[in-house]
């Protein structure tokens, strides 16, 4: 006879939580309106008895972009006669394409920096997002929405409204896109978005800085129409204008007796308090036209600054370079190499190269979940994803956004809450890639995303720091 009572048969009421209140707070930028290239600076106060529930936190911002080009969406013919409504698309990566970098400071010292945030978010999205979540993501963050799974970018005017008739007028050569608002927490907020209960009461002078994108072609692209010249939209420049920038997070405020229990449990104010998190580092290297067009078997690229105590995984995605017509989505990762292998600490990972697209997909899934036909998700599919991608000028209307990344798990016990990544602190990381093709027109931006374990420390003086190598 079994002595175990199954959980379904154990009837208990839940324990009462610690006395507290919870409300959504909005920490606003000290600047009201700014143009691309500027930084939003958001100070997060040292709230008494306060915790930030970062699992539900996001950055909110609005953007209005004046585009320059040809055959832009406009209403020069009047409101009832919108011209070329599908001319301008937002990148399939959505609103995160407008964010260049995120930095977090404590007492004026940097705690976390995520450069190339748009690349990072886009790579992780292709690696680990699913069509099931894409529907809501299209509303929240402007990611491409697609019933068929082709995941092309969004038509700005069909999704967010008509161009704004501002002082410059709205013409086919200059047109201001409607104001779009996004709520973003796409792995770019470090510990301010990773799910911990951030003990803001114990941290002094916490500041979030967000650097916005200045090149409009990173976020917008014109629709190629080879049949009707009047619908062939090109984008040559423009200005992003940002407003309404804020960090939004639920704040849990404890009553004094509950706070006393938490302080006693953890030792805030009397000793260092530590907790674990996961962070990302982005390195961008060039794969030149000559390298792409040669047949190279073991081209070695040194992945810089990839030294961590516990490297969980490393993911490669390649991005296109800007070109004159602005008709290419610059925020979508592809696979521009024919095979990939890393050499770390003198060992090859994996022992045999990743040299087929199906191995790329399985290795990527292994970084985030089990390799099951039921639960494995990525945005790669058999129609759009391929090795040896080469940037080319579009020849017709975009019907499919080919995507691809190569992830490699380096963690032993990924399914448990234990630190078990690879120690790379004493060694360089070399990426061994092969190339095979002769059609490249631009450099390919090889973007390596390293995901690593981090320990955050709040000392007795309330200074936050991070430790990872």
């Amino acid at each position: 006879m079994s002595a175990i009572v199954n959980s379904e048969l154990i009837y208990k009421e839940k324990d009462l939580p610690l006395g507290s209140t919870r409300q959504m707070a909005q920490f606003e930028s000290i600047k009201g309106t700014m143009v691309g290239g500027s930084r939003a600076i958001i100070n997060i106060p040292n709230l008494r008895n306060g915790f930030l529930d970062t699992a539900d936190a996001f950055v909110k911002f609005s953007v209005s972009t004046q585009l320059l080009g040809a055959n832009l969406t406009n209403w020069a013919g009047g409101a009832a006669n919108i011209t070329n409504p599908d001319g301008v698309l937002l990148s399939a990566a959505g609103g995160v394409s407008l964010i260049r970098a995120v930095e977090i400071y404590s007492n004026s010292a940097i705690v976390a920096r995520i450069d190339n945030s748009n690349y990072l978010s886009s790579i992780l999205s292709v690696a680990d997002s699913s069509l099931n979540s894409q529907d809501a993501a299209s509303i929240l963050a402007g990611n491409s929405f697609s019933q068929e799974g082709d995941l092309i970018g969004n038509s700005v005017c069909r999704t967010w409204g008509y161009p704004i008739a501002d002082v410059t007028g709205t013409k086919d050569t200059i047109s201001t896109m409607p104001t779009m608002t996004f709520c973003i927490n796409s792995n770019i907020l470090s510990f301010l978005g990773d799910g911990c209960m951030c003990p803001i009461f114990a941290i002094k002078n916490l500041q979030l800085q967000i650097e916005f994108e200045s090149d409009v072609r990173v976020s917008f692209l014109g629709t190629k129409d080879a049949v009707t010249p009047a619908k062939n939209c090109t984008i040559t420049g423009g200005t992003n204008t940002f407003s309404n920038v804020a960090y939004c997070a639920p704040v849990v405020t404890m009553d004094d007796s509950s706070m006393e229990a938490v302080i006693k449990e953890n030792g805030f104010g009397s000793r260092n308090v530590m907790w674990s998190g996961v962070n990302h580092h982005v390195s961008v290297l060039q794969l030149s036209v000559a390298e792409q067009n040669a047949t190279l078997d073991n081209l070695t690229k040194l992945v810089p600054a990839n030294r961590f105590t516990s490297l969980k995984n490393i993911t490669l995605g390649a991005f296109d370079s800007p070109e004159a017509t602005g008709q290419i989505d610059l925020c979508i990762p592809r696979i521009s190499v024919g095979s990939l292998q890393y050499r770390i600490n003198g060992n090859e990972y994996p022992q045999q190269k990743i040299d087929t697209i199906s191995k790329c997909v399985q290795n990527t899934i292994a970084c985030y979940s089990t390799n099951s036909n039921s639960v494995g998700t990525t945005f790669m599919n058999s129609v759009g994803s391929a090795l040896n991608y080469r940037q080319a000028l579009p020849t017709g209307t975009q019907v499919l956004s080919a995507r691809g990344v190569i992830g490699l798990s380096l963690e032993t016990w990924s399914e448990s809450d234990a630190v078990s990544g690879l120690d790379t602190t004493q060694s360089d990381t070399e990426a061994l890639v092969s190339t095979n093709g002769a059609t490249a027109i631009s450099n390919s931006q090889l973007c390596f995303v390293s995901t690593y374990d981090t320990v955050y420390v709040v000392n007795a003086e309330g200074i936050l720091s991070a430790s990872y190598n």
């Binding site: 039921s374 998700t377 990525t378 599919n381 032993t412 990924s414 234990a418």
Partner: protein, 442 residues
């Protein structure tokens, strides 16, 4: 006990067990294999080693050659189950103890799981890795086309597929304890028409030939090696610390097929057909699935799931009926099926089946008809007492029968038989003895 909840306790994560991991490829004994051949992949004994089977997979290369027939160009499709269609059977063999796992009718099992235990999100990576169709919205999955080039050849296809059973289980496989050798045995299908099909009727195209098709296989393994102290801790935490025998629980799935004749399918008045289901009689049967596949005449996707029974479905186990009343509609059938797969809630439904493709009474089309749908009809019945406990019903010494009603289809009589497929999912216990013998019991 502290009153402070876990969310407000701050501590860094502990270090994992001292170990290292690496990914390597285990090749098959031969380089290439033909249709109907037997593939063997040896899993080496690794000191203090484990294989993380949930993050390991099978790499497959398929080279279809010598297709013949008129009008095949542009009309050849890979089955909706992709490259899984090339494997009839997967066995795991360990030394003198023999079969640890025997999965017959592998394609039937994968057809059921891929259509009823995955969703449109999983369909994207599955299309790359297994060659299933990339179309996510509609059920017109005959669009999974393969281009036929000169001399009836199709460009070499490469796939990486997770395996079911022991080599795709949640528990790491402790190969460091198995001293008697371990082999993956794959029995390949004997006809290329079990892998590909013509999406148009026989008047336009009929696939023939393809006997020279070649395959190659390798197991892409995620290997974990721990140090001696970690191994000692693992032994202590496992049952091996007390009894000297390491054993753990898992589940397996077997499939048995029975023929339903055209005379039975074309009865003009409703008749009931009872079928005795052979195979194992496990001590803990967790669930039963039932569906049908096309007969010997090749038309349409060979791995379509036809809910061939006209209205009523029920199981008889020993002297009892399950459920007491017949399952009479496809909605009920699908609800029972989702229950078996742990998805019985509106937010958890996960299936590629829809109301267009899973009608009761569906039958294999005539060879002259074009394929219009990937059929997904199936039914299930859950015997598991508690969620995820693997506590099912004891079937030792009991006979299992399926009971279905049959009547001729309103759209006309069928010319094809049906292979009714009944699946048993049951609990097993794997054991490794002190001398390294690996065995299974159920």
């Amino acid at each position: 006990m502290s009153v402070v909840s876990q969310d407000y306790k701050y501590a860094p994560e502990p270090e994992g067990l001292a170990s290292r991991c690496y990914r390597t490829i285990l090749p098959s004994e031969n380089g290439t294999y033909g249709l109907g051949q037997r593939v063997l992949i040896n899993i080496p004994h690794t000191h203090n080693g484990f294989i993380n089977t949930s993050n390991s997979w099978l790499n497959v290369t398929m080279d279809i050659k010598g297709l013949t027939g008129n009008g095949i160009t542009g009309n050849v499709c890979l089955s909706n189950i992709g490259i899984y269609s090339c494997i009839d059977q997967i066995n795991i063999i360990s030394g003198s103890t023999g079969l640890v796992q025997e999965i017959r009718n592998h394609q039937e099992i994968m057809a059921l799981l891929l259509n009823n235990n995955s969703d449109r999100s999983a369909q994207l990576p599955n299309s790359v890795c297994a060659g299933t169709t990339p179309v996510v919205r509609t059920n017109l999955r005959q669009n999974n086309g393969l281009d036929v080039s000169g001399a009836g050849a199709i460009a070499t296809q490469t796939y990486s597929i997770p395996m079911i059973g022991l080599m795709g289980a949640i528990k790491h496989l402790p190969v460091g304890f198995i001293n008697q050798g371990l082999q993956i045995e794959l029995l390949l299908t004997n006809s290329v028409t079990n892998i590909i099909f013509s999406k148009v009727g026989s008047a336009t195209a009929v696939i023939g030939g393809g006997e020279t098709t070649e395959f190659s296989f390798e197991y892409d393994a995620d290997v974990v090696v721990v140090n001696d102290n970690s191994m000692r801790l693992i032994k202590e935490a496992s049952s091996m610390g007390n009894s000297g025998i390491m054993s753990w629980s898992d589940t397996q799935m077997h499939c048995t097929t029975n023929t339903v004749t055209t005379a039975e399918l074309n009865n003009t008045s409703t008749s009931f057909k009872q079928t005795l289901i052979g195979g194992v009689k496990p001590k803990s049967l967790l669930s039963i699935f039932h569906t049908g596949f096309g007969g010997s005449q090749k038309s349409g996707d060979p791995w379509n799931l036809y809910a061939y029974w006209s209205k009523d479905f029920r199981l008889r186990l020993g002297s009892q009926e399950y459920p007491p009343r017949f399952i009479e509609t496809m909605a009920e059938a699908q609800s029972h099926l989702q229950d078996c797969l742990g998805q019985s809630a509106v937010t958890l439904y996960s299936s590629l089946a829809d109301h267009n493709s899973s009608d009761l009474g569906s039958r294999q089309p005539a060879a002259t008809a074009a394929t219009t749908f990937t059929e997904t009809g199936a039914c299930g019945y859950n015997f598991e007492n508690y969620v995820d406990t693997a506590q099912g019903i004891d079937t030792t010494g009991k006979q299992l029968l399926t009971d279905v009603s049959l009547v001729v289809s309103p759209s006309g009589a069928t010319t094809n038989t049906i292979r009714a497929a009944t699946y048993k999912r049951f609990a097993v216990i794997y054991s490794i003895a002190e001398n390294g013998d690996f065995s299974v019991s159920y």
